[in-house]
């Protein structure tokens, strides 16, 4: 919901934002307010909040931003009481960030003011004394403060979830990501909330310098958070590029890894895998065929039947892949998935001939996405099949080759979100690429092997 999008805001969303702002205004205008020193402290903490707000970390472009605001507002709840905390929270409006639109800014301000006010109320209700804490107020101030921090985080995230629900596109990722993320966000919010108590405590010895001392660790933490995001992006881009390099050799399988990765993630989300495992299966999908490079090009290019040795060379590729990725420190499950992605439910797959539940879950997921992408892409011996036909083929082999549960999940996900089949490749006369004559992933056209007898 940026400036140009705000025209598209639904009436419900506008009403919701207006309501939040109105309630916050009414609550704050009623007072009571303090003396001149009270106002000065509101100004100092408000300034701190503006600094935090201006340097917020963007979590998802255009939608969510995170900053350690709660430490300023919670300190205000202790030092200045509910109304003071609300006023400090309202300083969000002066944030220098360029991203948010007017509607977003108004909502953020209302939300921060309201959650700070409620936190202050909770602090007082739990028996906390408003004012500069001294050596006698510890440790009994900790209990009310913790409750205030929880109330702050709860109000904040409930209001936020509401606005996200009302404004976000109803797409798949848009609906689920904030839920998974908010648990981590709430945890870090509570952690930084503890700084609020520290600011309040130091106010007695260090006065207005207290926030300055607090700033350093907070900014370091922020720095680390941005570094994580940057590294994560760099990592994904590099893995993607390297996988692409592996598959450039074969004209027909370009983009295969990427699509298998997407398909596996669709299945994983559909069956409700945890976020961490979804990430792992994404990488497993990208890397599932790296071992194919160990298969000699002439075997892949062969048009006639394969000899037993040649078939064995193909069957070895999951193991070769495992050899390559073994040392990468991500989930073991991803490694198992890569190794067993050609096992069949009836036990006639390779390399181990595992059956049914013996096959790791990741491998069963990968197998479905792998075969589906193979069928919906163009091959040298046939054109791409339409999605419906490929779905029928998957259903046909469910129970013998594929796990029926994952086939169902995949079909449901495709029905809802659609599937982007690759464009047929443009053949160029080029000495750099090769054309595979058979596809080991294609269940409808199994590899032809010369009978040894």
């Amino acid at each position: 919901m940026r400036g140009e999008d705000s025209a598209r805001l639904s009436w419900a969303a506008r009403l919701y934002i207006g309501g939040v702002v109105l309630v916050a205004t009414v609550v704050l205008v009623r007072g009571p307010f303090g003396d001149i020193r009270w106002w000065r402290n509101v100004a100092v903490l408000g300034l701190l909040l503006v600094v935090f707000e201006s340097t917020a970390t963007l979590l998802r472009p255009r939608q969510l931003a995170w900053s350690p605001n709660s430490s300023a507002t919670l300190a205000a709840a202790v030092l200045l009481g509910p109304v003071g905390a609300g006023l400090v929270g309202a300083c969000t409006i002066f944030g220098m960030r360029r991203g948010p639109s007017i509607a977003q800014r108004a909502f953020n301000t209302g939300m921060m003011a309201l959650s700070a006010y409620l936190a202050g109320r909770a602090f007082v209700a739990m028996g906390g004394t408003v004012g500069i804490p001294n050596s006698t107020s510890f440790p009994k101030v900790i209990g009310p403060f913790a409750v205030a921090a929880v109330v702050h985080a709860a109000t904040n995230h409930t209001l936020l979830a509401g606005v996200l629900w009302l404004t976000s596109d109803r797409d798949f990722a848009g609906r689920r990501a904030p839920l998974g993320m908010s648990v981590k966000l709430i945890a870090s919010d509570l952690g930084y909330g503890a700084f609020g108590l520290l600011i309040a405590a130091l106010w007695g010895v260090a006065g207005v310098f207290a926030p300055v001392l607090i700033l350093i660790p907070l900014f370091v933490a922020r720095w680390a958070v941005t570094q994580i995001a940057e590294q994560q992006q760099a990592y994904e881009a590099t893995v993607g590029a390297l996988c692409q390099a592996v598959e450039t050799k074969d004209f027909y399988t370009r983009g295969h890894s990427d699509r298998v990765s997407r398909g596996s993630v669709m299945i994983a989300r559909e069956i409700g895998m945890r976020g961490e495992r979804v990430e792992a299966i994404r990488y497993a999908g990208m890397l599932h065929d790296v071992g194919k490079l160990g298969v000699p090009t002439k075997v892949l290019q062969k048009t006639g039947k394969l000899t037993e040795e040649e078939y064995a060379a193909i069957q070895l590729h999951p193991m070769r892949g495992l050899d390559i990725v073994r040392e990468i420190g991500f989930l073991d499950e991803a490694l198992a998935g890569i190794m067993h992605h050609h096992e069949r439910i009836d036990g006639r797959g390779y390399p181990m001939g595992l059956a049914g539940g013996e096959i790791p879950e990741f491998a069963r997921v990968l197998a479905v996405a792998d075969a589906f992408d193979s069928m919906t892409s163009t091959r040298s011996y046939r054109g791409a099949r339409p999605v419906e036909e490929a779905v029928a083929e998957l259903r046909k082999w469910a129970g013998t080759q594929f796990d029926p549960a994952f086939v169902d999940a995949f079909v449901a996900a495709i029905k809802r979100d659609g599937w982007q089949s690759p464009e047929p490749p443009v053949l160029a006369v080029d000495d750099l690429t090769t054309v595979a004559a058979q596809d080991h992933d294609d269940p409808s056209a199994p590899l032809r092997v010369i009978d040894s007898l």
Partner: protein, 446 residues
Amino acid sequence: MTQRRHELRRFPWQVRDSGLLLLVVAAGVVLFASVAQTAVQGLRDPRIAVAFGVLIAFGEVLRLNLPGDRETAPIGMAGALAYALLIRVGDHSVQYTAEQVVTVTAIGMIVGALPHLAVGRPAKIGGMSIRLLCVACVAFIFRPLAGNSAVAYHWGLAFSVMTALAVLALLLEAVLTALLRVDEQRARFRVALVDEMRVQLPLGAAVGASGLLIAFAAEVMGLAALAVFTAPLLVTQVAFRRYAGIRATYLQTVRALAKVTEIGGYVEPGHSERVSRLAIAVGRELGIHEPQLLELEYAALMHDIGQLSLADPIPGGATVLVSRQDQQRIAELGADVIQQAQVLGSVAEIVRRQNEPYRGVEVAHEGYRGRPGRLDRWDGEPSRPPLSSRIIKAANAFDDLVGSSLDPGRAAAAVQQLRLDTASEYDPEAVEALSRVVNRRSVIQL
């Protein structure tokens, strides 16, 4: 030769790790004296001592590995600094001595190291000694001052002294760690120190500030300050841990995927790994800083990735044996692959120019696949490839000639061959550094 071998076997500490030994002995002496003094005098303020000891032990359990195999204990260090800089807890002025600070810190560290030992991780005694010496330094300066009423009752003065001491402690930690690394990795001291400060600065600032914060907050909050402050620093540490984890996975992934050229039969097994190890050693020898060293490592690991785009593997995979045009084509293709990742721009540049003669290309070389060749001239001088490219060129040629052989004679012959080509082809500096690395290696291998 046999004489030398004998000596090496007998006194391994004379060759390596002499710095570590010195450090551990110094820390041991300080600790021994402090424990003796504390034992004679008895423990003062035992409640406070136990609280801080527990915090330091907790911090030691939660050690953190930063990129570049650096182990730190941010929470433990912040706790120890705070204990050294404490003036009052509540209304009570603390009475303990610097020796007691050293003793409590050491006990906390040792207790915290036990779980690591129990699960079979190394104790990392070097890092512990450095931390202990830094804390000791702060304690011996500040404890006598803490009783001084000028410091104790003037917030500004106390704040300045404490800040200066925290900075001093963290600087000392960086210097000692850099010295240790010079010893371990044969890096140059100035380079190692700058790298150390760059890596440690953000976390160090947080640790120093947190140490000061607890010392001040304890005056108001009492010992509850320890619990309250730990939560935010814990969050920071979790963030750093994830950051370091992703960095490590990244490197592992590039290492692993660089192996696809071996599995595909394009290059000899182990080639990428050996070239990258050699290139890093040469880079350290030439005083390259860590961020560029990481780029060098990525580039060296992926220097042959362009071969994946060739229909048929080069026999034996030795790029030194094929024509310049083919070499250039492989380099360009590899650089294109890396360029696609969009984040490793300078790595792509290093790979692209890995074959150019070190004096630079006089004329624009023929472009590949219709891409115009670059005009590599700048004010009449041909532009030189980056240092990392020149290092990879030398390391790659050396490995193509020697392979996995450990024969010193063969290595010497290969170095000699590279030397003969330093007039235009190989960078003389890189070749000399490589020669030193190779000599050292063959001595160690004997």
